[in-house]
Symmetry: C2
Subunit: 87 residues, 2 copies
Amino acid sequence: MKYQARIFVTLRPSVLDPAGTAVQSALKQMDYHVDSVRIGKYVEITLDAADEAEASQQLNETCDKLLANPVIENYRFELTVIEEAKV
Amino acid sequence: MKYQARIFVTLRPSVLDPAGTAVQSALKQMDYHVDSVRIGKYVEITLDAADEAEASQQLNETCDKLLANPVIENYRFELTVIEEAKV
């Protein structure tokens, strides 16, 4: 089956976010007052897998090894089927 | 009212994604075969606004002016109420 994964990689709440802070102060100068800005990565992956469990396992390994730095980042993903298996 | 906005800034489909291509080939070397990888920005903003229309307008302006490059990027956002107005 073909899946589309939407992966969200965000800094842990305890980690300072200099990019977010910079955007927030830029917004303030533009007269937009926001309480907080946190910036992360958004990754869309399309992949083939036998079932959702296999797709999730592959994505967990992909995030742990490549997309997220476990020391300072969290990740989560949403999976949707985009093509059923051909019978 | 206090809102949380989840903003997704992605490259237009017609625009090449070198970062995504690099991740895809790295995944291939790690024996993970995926069809495509597209990398974008994920921004979480908390802000005060009178209502959803005002929050949306502020976010559209924020994205147009600061977070997204309209020539090569698309953006969309999801809004959720995190705190009702105090009566």
